[in-house]
């Protein structure tokens, strides 16, 4: 049993719903208790869709449990097929149905339906949403394409050259309830078109069963969201010989690497290295003097594997931040995240326990948190500015305006969104100099238009003076007064450093002098 205040991912059947709802012509019969239809809201409210998700729930109740629940499943399969006439049917269980073991998938397969029926086995007590989405996408494609699998693989990603046509790639992975997939697809499509590369199938988002059957016609698969599409891409590679790109084009550097990778896999000449500089505004915005104060800002990053990795690179290589914490809840992505953290001199936090993430965040005492909807809670508690970079998300992260994360425009969006919560340069200087203002008080961020926004210092757990800190240490009045003079967004870190220094040097009282000693010690 795990105490969970917030969960980073939903159960695996929600991942399966994401696949079905992203596509058309695919219907999902879900054996689930009355009440699990709440998941419809994710699509109708968060994604603001004007259609119901293509899901028929059996919605059994306690009184059905005594009776024939298997018959109930069959009735719903029949009704769903008659009413919606899908091109393919997914059948699976939610966590409660898994306990009563009706084997709905097998039941449906025994009903002699005319369309392909995919039996989903998604273990709800050990796997989660993204796994469920990946597994569903994989099973669906495997089912639809297994008849087409060639006996000997002779796929050549450069065949387009002989055939005298433009190269063609599939974009795999974008889905509803993914982070900004809608606009990422548009941006990547634009990016590829600019380089004379056509997009064949985009899936699951917007694809139908016929589209999936066209997947083998492409020269290359672009795996935009490995959490959803990696297992499918590698199956297509193994069985059809279609290679796939591994770089996720989030950030200027990553977008460039992505283009280089795609070009070289397709046998094309790589684009000029200064393209990112010319086509995205992030590079110049970040170089311009106004951004100098961003240098060394301490950032804590947490999210799904792909977005956390991308953020780490952007922060350290493109924005000049110092990454002080990096982690992910995607266990499948633990290895690359660990490697990235190591390169930054950090140990990666691989966990899905919100409390542990919050503790690590507090420990790292960052000036900015880039995380998920959940990190907004902890950041609020700790009084740290925060921006959302990954799912889980809420309705405000499915905006009306064009807001990709990928490609050149994605980098522009990222620059604005990640810098916005930080205090602007001038205000930062003035608050450091004059701390007695009646309006611009400690922790106030006037550009956010309200008294302090996410970073209100009054409630900042990190920057507060320890009243009765750790038993062995004592802050003198003059030490505390000196600490208060440190700008609020680094105060937490200074406090920790000073206490660590005091402990190391065996000093029990912390005065203003200790604080300066520590400062010199750590800066040296």
């Amino acid at each position: 049993m795990q105490l969970t205040l917030w969960t980073y991912e939903g159960p695996p059947h929600v991942g399966a719903m994401r696949i079905a709802a992203s596509m058309h012509g695919v219907h999902y019969v879900l054996h689930a208790p009355q009440g699990d239809t709440y998941a419809d809201l994710l699509f109708t409210m968060i994604e603001r869709r004007g259609q119901r998700p293509p899901v028929t729930y059996t919605t059994f109740q306690a009184r059905d449990l005594g009776g024939d629940t298997a018959e109930l499943v069959k009735r719903h399969v029949r009704e769903a097929v008659d009413r919606f006439q899908p091109d393919a049917l997914l059948v699976g269980e939610s966590c409660t149905a898994e306990l009563i073991q009706d084997q709905p998938g097998a039941l449906a397969q025994g009903m002699e339906l005319t369309m392909p029926v995919v039996n989903l086995e998604l273990p709800a007590y050990s796997k989660k949403e993204n796994w469920g989405a990946a597994e569903t996408f994989y099973q669906l494609i495997r089912n639809l394409l297994k008849a087409q699998v060639p006996t000997d693989i002779n796929h050549d990603p450069k065949a387009w050259q002989q055939e005298g046509r433009r190269p063609r790639v599939n974009l795999l992975g974008p889905s509803l309830l993914g982070f900004r997939c809608r606009d990422d697809v548009l941006e990547v499509q634009k990016l590829l078109t600019l380089h004379g590369i056509d997009v064949g199938v985009v899936a699951p988002l917007g694809a139908g069963v016929e589209d999936l059957k066209r997947i083998p016609d492409a020269d290359l698969n672009v795996c935009l969201y490995p959490e959803v599409a990696e297992s499918t891409c590698s199956w297509l590679e193994r069985n059809f010989g279609i290679p796939f790109s591994r770089t996720v084009p989030i950030g200027v550097g990553a977008t460039h690497d992505f283009l280089v990778e795609v070009h070289s896999l397709l046998g094309m000449e790589a684009p000029a290295p200064d393209e990112g500089y010319k086509r995205s505004r992030l590079p110049w915005y970040s170089e311009s003097v106004d951004s100098t104060y961003l240098t060394g800002k301490r950032v804590f990053i947490f999210g799904d594997g792909s977005h956390a990795l991308a953020a780490a690179r952007i922060c350290s290589e493109e924005l000049g931040f110092t990454v002080v914490g990096l982690g992910t809840y995607s266990r499948e992505m633990a290895r690359p995240v660990r490697a990235a953290a190591k390169a930054l001199g950090l140990e990666a936090l691989i966990c899905d326990d919100y409390l542990e993430v919050e503790a690590a965040m507090a420990e790292a005492a960052p000036e900015l948190v880039l995380g998920t909807q959940m990190e907004r809670h902890s950041a609020k508690r700790l009084g740290i500015p925060c921006s959302v970079i990954s799912t889980p998300m809420h309705v405000q992260d499915v905006p009306a305006r064009m807001s990709p994360q990928m490609g050149w425009e994605g980098a522009n969006v990222i620059f604005d969104d990640w810098v916005h919560p930080l205090m602007m340069g001038l205000e930062e200087h003035l608050i450091g100099m004059f701390r007695h203002d009646f309006e611009f008080v400690d922790g106030h961020q006037s550009h956010l238009g309200h008294a302090g926004g996410a970073g209100a210092a009054d409630s900042s757990a990190l920057s507060d003076i320890p009243v009765e800190g750790d038993g062995a240490l004592h802050w003198t009045a003059d030490g505390e007064a000196e600490l208060k003079k440190i700008p609020f967004f680094v105060r937490g870190k200074v406090r920790r450093n000073t206490e660590a220094y005091a402990r190391d040097t065996g000093c029990r009282e912390i005065s203003s002098e200790t604080l300066y000693d520590a400062k010199a010690h750590f800066k040296a």
Binding site: M1, P33, G35, A39, T44, Q396
Partner: protein, 425 residues
């Protein structure tokens, strides 16, 4: 036979489970914590419903069952104890811990009542641990509140004091207002369940008269009457008429002089009438279809028909307690179909066929119906808004007139060529 036509339907349902009640109960009793014992689905449900609010200190959580818990139930009990202690350590200010059962915990028959007992012994006095079920297989949406309140009933101290007990969650301001009015009518002692602090439980006994503020409290009402209280049957306090009859039921029970009651209520009725007029102008003659969600549908339909002049196409309810609803049923027009239960697809067919002017439905259906060109009022808002009492009649009507009013405002601008044919999302 005169009166509404009572029908039943079964099939796929589109409703919340009782766990959802945590979303408002945690605000009503900020010193309580709601720990769901269930799966990741349950955790996901609550956070999807409440996650848009940002919490510095969450007041609900889920003990997620793992494969190991499913394999050995004995361990599950130890695990639950460990999780509860961990939680209480982190949040020492919690006074009442609700262990909330879910579908998975009910299906594997995890005995949460015993767990609550065991923890109560161990924590002796510091925290009270109670248990109820919010599972989808047993409860629909607001029935979760019934479960939570019913779990508190045995903890109420015995008291023979003559008192009025208002049962069911009310918005703070509405509660204050009702109490004030009852006092002016001459009822001295009034308490409410749930209280604002979970430790502040009212007494109950032979002198207690219970007035239900909400229609979904079947079990709570039963347990209160088992403890000697008199539970009144009256229309529910929605709309001016319903609220008046509801208050008069209490006044009767306390033998208050009619003139005094009228002196308090008459001016309110006058005011409500003028507050309603504006919305009645929008709603009158419009046809409304209510889908099952909260059990508030009957009183709402009665209010919309009698006070706002709407025509009822169908009134759905997830569950019909005929005894408690007798007064409401009596006020509904003859031959209106009252549908208990649901086959959501067939019900939607009926919605489409009857093309009502307004559909009251859950959020899973609201945007899709709007995209088909059918105006909706999403029903969850009704349990989150101060809608009870004579003074709130205008506000309640506004919740229904607003979507229609909004259409009038924006449709011509958004569909300049033909405002009647919507462009689908």
């Amino acid at each position: 036979m005169a009166g509404p036509t009572l029908l039943k339907e079964s099939g796929p349902r589109e409703v919340f489970c009782g766990l959802t009640s945590i979303v408002w109960l945690h605000r009503r009793m900020p010193d309580a914590f709601f720990l769901v014992v269930g799966s990741r689905t349950c955790a996901h449900l609550i956070q999807s419903a409440a996650g848009v609010m940002i919490f510095a200190e969450p007041r609900f959580g889920t003990a997620i069952l793992s494969e190991r818990d499913l394999a050995g139930l004995a361990d599950a009990h130890d695990e639950l104890d460990r999780v509860c202690k961990e939680l209480l350590q982190r949040r020492p200010e919690i006074r009442t811990l609700f262990l909330v059962g879910s579908c998975p915990s009910e299906v594997i028959k995890l005995d949460l009542a015993r767990a609550a007992e065991r923890l109560n012994e161990e924590l002796s006095g510091r925290v009270r641990v109670v248990n109820y079920s919010g599972s989808g297989i047993e409860t629909t949406f607001t029935q979760g509140e019934d479960g939570a309140l019913a779990a508190l009933v045995p903890l109420l101290p015995a008291s023979d004091e003559r008192q009025l007990l208002l049962v069911g969650t009310l918005a703070d301001a509405v509660e204050d207002r009702q109490m004030h009015l009852f006092k002016r009518m001459g009822i001295e002692t009034i308490h409410s369940l749930p209280p604002r602090q979970s430790t502040d439980l009212p007494g109950v006994g032979a002198g207690t008269t219970v007035l239900l503020t909400q229609p979904f409290l079947t079990e709570t009402a039963r347990l209160l009457s088992n403890r000697g209280a008199t539970v009144l049957t009256a229309p529910f306090p929605l709309g001016a008429e319903g609220s008046r009859r509801w208050m008069e039921a209490a006044a009767d029970d306390f033998h208050l002089p009619n003139e005094r009651v009228a002196a308090v209520l008459d001016p309110l009725m006058k005011r409500a009438e003028s507050a309603l007029a504006r919305h009645r102008a929008v709603l009158e003659g419009k046809r409304i279809f209510l889908l099952p969600e909260s059990q508030l549908e009957l009183p709402l339909a009665r209010f919309l028909q009698r006070e706002c002049g709407m025509e009822l196409v169908e009134v759905g309810t997830p569950y019909l307690n005929r005894e408690q609803m007798a007064a409401e049923l009596a006020l509904l027009p003859d031959d209106v179909p009252v549908m208990e239960g649901q086959h959501v697809e067939q019900q939607l067919d009926r919605v489409r066929a009857s093309q009502p002017d307004l559909v009251v439905c859950g959020m899973g259906l609201a945007n899709p119906l709007e995209a088909e060109g059918i105006a909706t009022k999403w029903s969850i808002e009704l349990v989150f808004s101060p809608i009870h009492g004579i003074d709130q009649a205008g506000d309640l009507a506004e919740l229904f007139s607003r979507p229609l009013h909004r259409r009038q405002l924006i449709r011509p601008g958004l569909h300049p060529s033909n405002p009647d044919t919507p462009v689908h999302a």
